[in-house]
């Protein structure tokens, strides 16, 4: 039980720190308790904000941008001086930009890049398979999705190490480790994309394949998109696409390393993988979206006011027993599975189809070559907060 103080309107006040570090899976397990005690509560942390914990209320809020706005998605910064495109936009403005992404990250594009993704997975596995083990997060979960992502938007996969470094610095900065390094990395990324835009202007590529050429040729309200906005969109794309797939790979392989029966089942029957991946997404939905209230509303029994922020950890929704039978158990053949690990509503993850395919390719190729593995028991495994993810995952195999 987490004891609550008194918050606004007599609502519970619970100061649970979504940004803390701890043992792997500890955030998800903590919220399994919180959700059952409180459908909503006030937190004094990070400037003070509301928290909603259950599936239906979280999904509904994400589908109602006229009340729960994307004007800010950072709980500690309700009035940001910067703007992430398209993240900080609400309909109808949001849709004008969002439509530019959909075709680029469609199931068709994903099919096109799948052979290259398989080759990339095997390239990274080649590098460590004979070592009898690896630090999975740095040896595979970092470079593999980065390589595939760069290929998917037609940037050189050889630049993978650059992007891995930038993404580390930005997310390290957001968690408070070294904010200056995070700002520096964002500037370096902008410079990188600025140079790439110059090259694309000089030598345009196929707009169906090359996202920068496409952004240069695209229009919003019949006007070309300003270069500053294109740079913003490119950086947001990197920040949305890389750390996420990395963390999901980490959680999936952590689960399979610690559940040999389930792993063996997938090795024997890879046709179960797409369903299993949905279940592993549900169980480890590590993104905590936030929204800013456009007007006052009584929600989940709490008097929420215009201008306040509302935090809605997706893991709290996707492990809600009101929405999923045996929500606390991984069932690899769970069907149906209406999880919202990619969010819901207009801001649903634009890269969801690509992410799913990356997870599928990684898990297929890995298990063909390394069907048996377990954790190195000598090393504790930790998890960071906010957009949660494993910090390390030491695997060993025979």
């Amino acid at each position: 039980m987490v004891n609550a103080g008194a918050g606004p309107g007599g609502c519970p006040a619970v100061s649970v720190d979504v940004g803390r570090s701890g043992p792997i899976l500890s955030h998800f397990e903590e919220w399994d308790g919180l959700r059952e005690q409180y459908p909503a509560f006030w937190s004094e942390l990070y400037g003070g904000h509301w928290v909603v914990t259950r599936f239906e209320a979280i999904r509904h809020a994400l589908q109602e941008p006229s009340t729960f706005s994307n004007e800010s998605t950072i709980v500690s910064d309700p009035n940001p001086e910067y703007k992430f495109i398209p993240t900080f936009l609400d309909p109808p403005e949001h849709g004008k930009y969002r439509t530019l992404y959909n075709a680029r990250f469609s199931p068709g594009m994903v099919n096109r890049i799948t052979p290259a993704a398989r080759a990339a997975a095997n390239k990274y596995i080649d590098a460590f398979i004979d070592d009898g083990g690896c630090e999975f997060m740095t040896a595979f979960a970092d470079p593999f999705p980065t390589d595939v992502f760069l290929n998917s938007i037609n940037l050189p996969p050889e630049d993978t190490p650059l992007f891995v470094g930038w993404v580390h610095a930005v997310f390290g900065g957001l968690s408070g480790a070294d904010p200056q390094a995070g700002v520096q990395a964002q500037m370096e990324m902008r410079d990188y994309f600025k140079e790439m835009l110059d090259r694309r202007r000089a030598e345009p590529q196929d707009v169906n394949v090359d996202i920068l050429t496409y952004f240069l040729s695209a229009t919003v309200d019949d006007k070309a998109i300003p270069e500053d906005d294109i740079l913003n969109m490119a950086v947001v794309l990197v920040l949305a696409g890389l750390d996420t797939t990395k963390s999901q790979l980490g959680y999936n392989f952590h689960y399979l390393a610690t559940h040999p029966d389930d792993r063996e089942r997938l090795v024997k029957d890879p046709s179960l993988l797409p369903t299993a991946i949905e279940e592993l997404l549900r169980y480890h939905a590590f993104v905590p979206p936030a929204r800013k209230l456009k007007h006052d509303i009584d929600y989940e029994g709490c008097p929420m006011q215009a201008g306040q922020m509302v935090l809605m950890p997706l893991w709290s929704a996707t492990r809600d027993p009101r929405a999923f039978d045996d929500a606390g158990e991984v069932k690899l053949d769970r069907e149906p599975n209406r999880h919202i690990a990619f969010g819901a509503g207009p801001h649903r993850c634009a890269g969801a189809h690509l992410a799913r395919r990356e997870l599928l390719v990684a898990m297929e190729e890995w298990h063909k070559r390394i069907p048996e593995y377990h954790l190195d028991p000598a090393q504790p495994i930790t998890e960071h907060g906010w957009q949660c993810g494993p910090d390390n995952l030491p695997l060993v195999w025979p």
Binding site: R59, P107, R338, A344, R348, A352, H353
Partner: protein, 67 residues
């Protein structure tokens, strides 16, 4: 059996055409082609229709007549 796909709620999650490929297909942007339509489920595909209804993360697909 008739089903309806809400254009307002559908966000292109793509679960319907993944779990019920004989009933739904994707357009070039990853949205289901049947977005914003109501139609009669062909005989024999009722189970796929029910699975799609129960799998949609947005609750965008419903059996017409059900609340």
């Amino acid at each position: 059996m008739r089903i309806a796909v809400s254009a307002e709620l559908c966000s292109g999650q793509g679960r319907c055409y993944s779990v019920s490929p004989d009933l739904f297909t994707s357009d070039d942007e990853g949205f289901v082609v049947q977005r914003g339509t109501e139609f009669e489920v062909p005989a024999g595909l009722e189970d796929q229709a029910r699975l799609a209804v129960a799998s949609c993360p947005e609750g965008a697909i419903r059996v017409v007549g059900d609340s």
